[in-house]
Symmetry: C2
């Protein structure tokens, strides 16, 4: 029988811990952690993501600020907004929700964010510090995967870990985190991607398999090593007329066929997904505590 | 029969190309590229490395400056020196030779270097930009490995690449470079290290094997897949009374037993070693040309 890695319950636990830490801050006369989110345009999914982040802030007692801009905003104006947020002493961290309109260079915006307020952990300097095993803000989704492994006491040292997908926000940073000398960590990591040949052979060797490709139901049970731990980062919206939202979330793993082979597995939804916001909040509180970058 | 990947000849070729580019700059009325090296203390190996870098500068027509400091220098003084080099308009790049004395925080020194002059490619922001597949200075030894693969037209796309060793200056960044979407690149990379179990099984699957452990003669012929490409980054000084220097350089690969199984292999010495300085010079010229960070 496999362990269901319950990201929703773990996230709720983390939120309870964060609430307590906020209360401790208030008792010490310190202000609430404060996160701002910049939303450009009216993309439905982006609005949902940002609203969920703002709601999560309220739930744990953070102050939050939602900053909306029209999709016609010029890059220079957005850069100016980023600079003003960098200098806002009342703000611990902020995110600029992606994707941005095509006329804006997202990389330039990302680089303009003060690394000390980069609670998404997307700035090059935070990724570089991760590679050097130095303190810094970790990208939220990879950090969420690490936190699930930690809280479920899953042994990682010396394990063969196979990661499917090399995106800049999940697969690539996670390959660094799981390979480096840390706990969780110390895995022998193989990073697979669209150019990988004989993908199945790699998957079959995995003690820990992380799927982050964005291909619904791609990973099949017959590929899974007996007793493997499977982490499903995929969250693709698939049309579903039977739901009020008109879609359902599907992971990269065919849960029904895969789960029986596993010692532990994350579901979709309710697995890695809820952890991403928790890690964003954690980063924001760390910033308020000046944990990585000092005062 | 295997191809001997001749790093010494390749480095000489690159130096000829660099000399020509310097000449072109001079013909356009531009100044010579200028590299400075900071040497703290009197460690013999460090002196040799720094001297070789200075000599290489002279050979390709770069201006060079050697800055020596006693090992008693305070960290604050060294930081001040770094800041003055950052602001020196006549200087394109500089390196601070490692190791530094124990009372100096090497990480703090590294962070103080202007990323635009970080021609060693060790600054977190350059490593993070590498992870994001953005232009920046690549660490010299991994860049040297990539350059050898490029110039010997070794196919990397879709190949299983196994890297032995996860150091911050070789194994970890090289795992990123070989996995990312680039040419050379697009390998399926497995990063092995001291915690890896069944190391031999990983090595046996390698189409491209990179050894960067610092264990002389560790890799044996019977582990090598037929036709593999083997890159030996190891350079350990082993005592040898028969030589004037008192030592010989040994790689991580037992060349005699490994070479017959290979399609291509780098020797030690004369393989990756000479490429490191070439890549340092390349980075310095790129800085003079304001290639990655603009004016």
């Amino acid at each position: 029988m496999y362990t269901l890695i319950d990201g929703k319950a773990t996230a709720a636990q983390i939120h309870a811990e964060l609430s307590m830490e906020v209360q401790n801050r208030l008792n010490q006369g310190l202000r609430r952690p404060h996160l701002a989110a910049v939303l450009v345009g009216h993309d439905g999914a982006s609005q949902t993501y940002v609203n969920n982040k703002i709601l999560a802030c309220e739930r744990v007692g953070f102050r939050s600020t939602l900053i909306k801009r029209e999709s016609t905003i010029r890059e220079a104006e957005l850069l100016e907004l980023v600079r003003s947020l960098n200098h806002d002493q009342e703000l611990d961290g902020f995110i600029v929700q992606l994707p941005l309109p095509g006329h804006i260079n997202a990389e330039r915006i990302n680089e303009a964010i003060d690394p000390a307020k980069d609670v998404d952990g997307f700035h090059a300097i935070n990724l570089g510090r991760m590679l050097l095993n130095l303190p810094g803000y970790l990208p939220a989704t990879p950090a969420g995967v690490i936190e699930l492994l930690r809280r479920y006491n899953i042994e990682t040292e010396g394990k063969n870990c196979v990661i499917l997908g090399r995106s800049h926000i999940v697969g690539s940073p996670l390959s660094v985190l799981l390979a480096r000398s840390a706990t969780p960590g110390n895995c022998t990591v193989t990073l697979c991607h669209s150019k990988t040949q004989n993908l199945m052979e790699h998957i079959q060797r995995a003690d820990i398999l992380v799927a982050a490709l964005g291909k619904p139901g791609f990973v099949r049970g017959e590929w899974i090593k007996k007793g493997a731990v499977v982490v499903d980062v995929g969250t693709t919206r698939v049309p579903d007329a039977s739901r009020a939202s008109g879609y359902k979330l599907m992971g990269d793993v065919d849960f029904e066929s895969v789960a029986p082979h596993c010692s532990a597995i994350t579901p979709v939804p309710g697995g890695v997904g809820p952890m991403t916001i928790s890690m964003l909040l954690r980063n924001t509180l760390d910033s308020a505590n000046q944990r990585h970058y000092g005062g």
